[in-house]
C-alpha cells in the first residue's frame, strides 16, 4: 500500500534535508521516492507542516540482560510505586528507572524512538539479554558484547597469540552472542578487581597477566578494525567517576593514536580535582581534544536530578559508590568470571555540589563539542537518569534561557564552578535530529536503512508538533510510525503488539579459533560451548523475531 505523508517539515540530516517542506512516501514498510508515474497514494495523511524526523535511535541504554534484571529485583518498591495496567492490547508493566520490558517499549515509542541498543551484554548472559529484548515491543534493538576483562581474551594476549587469533576470537564471540558491536568496561580493571585491585590506570600492569589497559584497548580496537565491524570499540574507560579522571580520559584518546574509538558516558570521565571540593569540570579540555580528534565519537551519559539506579559492569567503581547508595542497598555480582556487575540505587540531588556539577559537566560537553555527528544524546539509562528524561534534556540543549533558569536554581558554588552560564549555543532542530537519530545510526553503521528518510530506508518516523516548549514537543509526538505503520498518536501507543528486529554483525573469521575456545570451555567453564552459543533460531523464534545483519567492511561471513 502506498502511503503519503503530506505537508511535512522534514529534518533528515543523513540526506542533507534541513527543514524543507515536502511529502514523505511509504510503501511496504519502507520509504520510497515520490512515484514518477503520478500513481496516487492509497492513503494520505496530512501532517499540516509538522516536524518529521526519522524515528529516534538510542545507542546506549541498558534495557536488557543480567544487570537490568538485578536492578529490577533490587528495587521492588520502585515497581510497586510505578504500575501500569494492561488493556487495549497493552501488557501490564511496572518500574521507573528499571522498567519492565513492555513498559520500556511503550515509553520509548511514546517519545518517538524506534530503536534502542543494550550496550553491556555479558557473553554468558546473551541468551537472557536477547530474550528480554525480544519482549520489548515497538523497538529495534541490538547488543554490544562485553570483552576484554575475560580470562580467555587476557590469556590470548599474555601468550602472544597474535592479532589474527584475537580478531578471530572477537568475531567468534560476536557470532555466538548475536551482537552488533563490542564494548569494554574498565579495561583490565574488572579482572584486576578479582585479584583485589581497587584501581587500574591506563599504563598500570594488571595482575596475573601483566597487561596494561592501553594494550587491551588498542588490541581490541585493531581487532574490530581488522574485522571491519562498523561500530568502533565502545569504551567505558578506566577510573569512572573518580575526580581527576580527566587525565586518564585525555591519555586514553591519545593512546588510540588515530584508531577509532567511541567513548561512552563521557560525562562520567570528565572530572578534574580542582577547587575546594576537589571536584571540578574538565569538560573544556576534553571537548577541545575531542574536537581535534576526528577518530573519536561519544555519548554523554547526562545526569538528571531524581531517583534512579546505576547498573554497571564496572565492579570496581560500584564498590566505590556503594556507600552513596540511596536507598541504602546494593548488589555486586560476578557471572562466569567474564566481567563484573554492580547495581547501586542512586538519587541525584540538585542541592548536592557534586551531583549538580555532574549535571553541568554533561551539558558543557554537549555544548562544547562541535560536531554533532560524533556525539549522541544519552543519559546512559538508567545510570545518569531514566531515558524518559530525554525531552527535558532536549529542551535544556535547545533553549538557553530555560537552561539558565535551571542553572540559577543550583547552589552558588556550582554556578561558579561551571562555564555553562556563559555558553550561548542552542541546538537547532537539525542538530537534535543528528544527536538523537542520524548520528547514532551512522556511528553504529546501520545508516543504510535506518536513521534517515531517503528511499530504501525503513519507514520508522516520528512527527512532532512544533511547540515552542521543546520538552512538550519531544515528550509527545503527534505520530510515530514503525515499519510504515502508525504505532502511536499524541503520545498514546495504539499498536502495542508491534515487534522490532534484532541488529547483528557477522564478521568473517577463521573458524579454527573455536578449538581454542572449546578447550577453554572444557577446562574452566561450567557452561558447555554448545549451550553457550545462541542459535539464529532463538532470535527468530518462529517468526516472533527478525534479524538484520549489517555488513562488515571488506569481509564476508
Amino acid at each position: 500500500m502506498l502511503t503519503r505523508l503530506e505537508s511535512c517539515t522534514v529534518h533528515d540530516p543523513i540526506n542533507g534535508v534541513d527543514g524543507a517542506r515536502g511529502d514523505v512516501w511509504i510503501e511496504d514498510g519502507r520509504i520510497v521516492a515520490a512515484p514518477a508515474d503520478g500513481r496516487a497514494a492509497a492513503q494520505t495523511l496530512d501532517m499540516g507542516g509538522r516536524v518529521v524526523m526519522p524515528g529516534g535511535i538510542d545507542l546506549h541504554s541498558h534495557i536488557g540482560g543480567g544487570k537490568v534484571n538485578i536492578a529490577r529485583m533490587l528495587l521492588p518498591e520502585e515497581h510497586r510505586a510505578h504500575r501500569q495496567a494492561g488493556g487495549n492490547g497493552h501488557r501490564c508493566g511496572s518500574g521507573h528507572a528499571s522498567p519492565s520490558t513492555f513498559t520500556t517499549g511503550y515509553a520509548y515509542a511514546r517519545m518517538g524512538y524506534t530503536a534502542a541498543f543494550e550496550p553491556a551484554m555479558l557473553p554468558a548472559n546473551a541468551r537472557q539479554a536477547h530474550q528480554e529484548m525480544a519482549d520489548i515491543p515497538l523497538l529495534d534493538k541490538g547488543a554490544y558484547v562485553l570483552l576484554g576483562n575475560d580470562d580467555l581474551f587476557l590469556d590470548l594476549l599474555a601468550e602472544g597469540a597474535g592479532p589474527d587469533a584475537v580478531a578471530d576470537y572477537v568475531a567468534w564471540t560476536l557470532h555466538a552472542t548475536q551482537a552488533l558491536a563490542v564494548k569494554i568496561v574498565n579495561p583490565g580493571g574488572i579482572a584486576a578487581f578479582k585479584f583485589n585491585g581497587r584501581k587500574l590506570d591506563l599504563d598500570e600492569q594488571g595482575p596475573h597477566w601483566g597487561i596494561t589497559p592501553r594494550t587491551i584497548l588498542t588490541t581490541l580496537a585493531d581487532a574490530l578494525d581488522r574485522l571491519g565491524v562498523p561500530h568502533p570499540i565502545h569504551v567505558h574507560g578506566c577510573n569512572l567517576g573518580v575526580p581527576g579522571n580527566d587525565a586518564t580520559t585525555l591519555a586514553t584518546i591519545a593512546a588510540m593514536e588515530g584508531r577509532r574509538i567511541h567513548l561512552t558516558h563521557l560525562q562520567f570521565h570528565s572530572y578534574g580535582k580542582e577547587g575546594r571540593h576537589r571536584f571540578s569540570s574538565a569538560a573544556p579540555a576534553i571537548a577541545e581534544l575531542v574536537n581535534k580528534s576526528p577518530n573519536v565519537s561519544l555519548d554523554v551519559g547526562q545526569v538528571m536530578f531524581g531517583q534512579t539506579v546505576t547498573a554497571s559492569g564496572d565492579t570496581m567503581s560500584q564498590v566505590r559508590n556503594a556507600r552513596f547508595a540511596h536507598p541504602k542497598k546494593w548488589v555486586g555480582m560476578d557471572i562466569e568470571c567474564e566481567a563484573g556487575c554492580g547495581v547501586v540505587p542512586f538519587r541525584y540531588r540538585d542541592r548536592n555540589f557534586v551531583h549538580a556539577l555532574q549535571w553541568a559537566i554533561g551539558l558543557e560537553l554537549f555544548l562544547a563539542i562541535e560536531d554533532p555527528w560524533r556525539i549522541a544524546l544519552t543519559t546512559d539509562h538508567p545510570n545518569g537518569a531514566p531515558f524518559t528524561t530525554y525531552p527535558h534534556l532536549v529542551r535544556l540543549l535547545m533553549d538557553r534561557s530555560f537552561r539558565n533558569d535551571m542553572l540559577a536554581r543550583l547552589p552558588k558554588a556550582v554556578r561558579e564552578a561551571t562555564a555553562l552560564g556563559s555558553m550561548t549555543r542552542e541546538y537547532t532542530l537539525q542538530e537534535i535530529a543528528i544527536v538523537t537519530r542520524a548520528g547514532p545510526a551512522r556511528l553504529l553503521g546501520i545508516d543504510q536503512h535506518y536513521g534517515h528518510l531517503g528511499p530504501g530506508a525503513m519507514a520508522d518516523i516520528a512527527v512532532y508538533e512544533d511547540h515552542e516548549d521543546r520538552e512538550r514537543m519531544f515528550a509527545q509526538p503527534a505520530l510515530v510510525m514503525k515499519n510504515g505503520r502508525v504505532v502511536a498518536r499524541d503520545g498514546v501507543v495504539c499498536e502495542p503488539g508491534t515487534r522490532g528486529a534484532t541488529h547483528v554483525v557477522r564478521p568473517g573469521h577463521d573458524r579454527a579459533i573455536e578449538r581454542r575456545v572449546a578447550r577453554f570451555f572444557e577446562d574452566y567453564r561450567d557452561m558447555r560451548l554448545t549451550s553457550f552459543r545462541l542459535a539464529e533460531e532463538e532470535i527468530l523464534d518462529g517468526g516472533r523475531g527478525q534479524l538484520v545483519v549489517h555488513a562488515c567492511r571488506g569481509a564476508g561471513p
Partner: protein, 266 residues
C-alpha cells in the same frame, strides 16, 4: 450525622483495591460522586457504586459493612480520620498509613500495618502473617503507631519493624524476625525461632519459647521500664494485657549484632 457508610452488595471473589477509599479522599464528595469513583477489581476498573451501597455521612467516620477478605489495602496511606470495618479485612490493611485509626471487627489479612508510620489499627479477630512487616525489598517494616490484635498473630510478625508496637494473643513462626526496633508484645506463646536475625528491639512473650541458639540468656530480671510500657498500654485502653513484670531476658540475635532482646514472662 453518622459516618459515611459503604455496604458491600455481595461478596466479591477478585481482589478489590480499597486504597482510594480514604476519609481524606472522600471529603466533600456527594454519595453519587463517591459511587462513581473507580476501584481496581481484579484486572477491571469498577465503579464503587457497583460494589457498594453508599449512604451519606461524615467521611471522617467511614464505615465499611458486610466486608469480605477480597477487600485489600483498606486504609492504605491514610493520614487521619477513622475507618470501621464491620467484617473481615483483606490483605494489607493500613499499608503505609500515617495517622488515624482502623478498627476491624473480624480478622485481618496478611501485612496488616505493613510499613505504617503512625495511627492505630485494632483487629478484634486474628491477623495473618507479617503484621507491621516490611514489604518485599523494603528496608523497614512499621516505623510508628500500633497494631493491636485481639486474636493471634500469624508468622513473621514485625519482620524488619523499626519502631512502634504490635500486640497479639499468640504468634506464629519467627516473631520479630529481622527486627530493627520497636516492641512486640505477645500475651501467650509463639512458634519456633522467635527473633531470628533481630538487630535491636524488644519481643515480649507471655510463655516459654525456643529461642534460636544465637540468643544469650541473661537470667531473670525485674525490669523497671516495663511499668512505663504498661502505662502506655493503659493509655491505649488496654488493661490486664501484661504477662508479668518479672522476665527472663535473652539478648540476640548475636548473628546480627545482638542488641535485641526477647523477654519471657518468668
Amino acid at each position: 450525622m453518622g459516618g459515611l457508610t459503604l455496604t458491600l452488595r455481595e461478596r466479591v471473589r477478585l481482589p478489590v483495591d480499597m486504597a482510594p477509599v480514604l476519609p481524606e479522599l472522600l471529603a466533600g464528595l456527594s454519595a453519587q460522586e463517591i459511587g462513581k469513583l473507580e476501584l481496581q477489581c481484579g484486572n477491571r476498573r469498577v465503579p464503587l457504586g457497583e460494589l457498594f451501597e453508599v449512604a451519606a455521612g461524615d467521611p471522617q467516620r467511614l464505615v465499611i459493612r458486610d466486608t469480605c477478605p477480597a477487600l485489600e489495602r483498606i486504609g492504605a496511606g491514610m493520614k487521619g480520620g477513622a475507618i470501621a470495618v464491620e467484617g473481615d479485612a483483606g490483605a494489607l490493611p493500613g499499608l503505609g498509613m500515617k495517622g488515624g485509626s482502623i478498627e476491624v471487627a473480624g480478622a485481618a489479612g496478611a501485612f496488616a500495618g505493613s510499613e505504617m508510620s503512625g495511627g492505630v489499627i485494632r483487629v478484634a479477630g486474628d491477623a495473618a502473617g507479617f503484621v507491621g512487616a516490611a514489604q518485599a525489598g523494603g528496608r523497614f517494616g512499621m516505623t510508628g503507631g500500633a497494631v493491636l490484635v485481639g486474636g493471634d498473630l500469624g508468622d513473621r510478625a514485625g519482620d524488619r519493624m523499626r519502631r512502634g508496637l504490635v500486640l497479639g494473643g499468640s504468634a506464629g513462626l519467627h516473631a520479630g524476625s529481622r527486627m530493627i526496633g520497636g516492641t512486640i508484645l505477645v500475651r501467650g506463646t509463639c512458634s519456633t525461632l522467635p527473633g531470628v536475625g533481630m538487630k535491636r528491639g524488644t519481643l515480649i512473650l507471655g510463655g516459654t519459647a525456643a529461642a534460636p541458639a544465637t540468643f544469650a540468656d541473661n537470667g531473670v530480671h525485674e525490669l523497671g521500664w516495663l511499668a512505663l510500657l504498661e502505662r502506655h498500654l493503659a493509655g491505649l485502653g488496654l488493661r490486664g494485657m501484661f504477662p508479668s513484670r518479672r522476665v527472663r531476658r535473652l539478648t540476640g540475635d548475636l548473628a546480627a549484632g545482638g542488641k535485641g532482646e526477647i523477654l519471657v514472662a518468668a
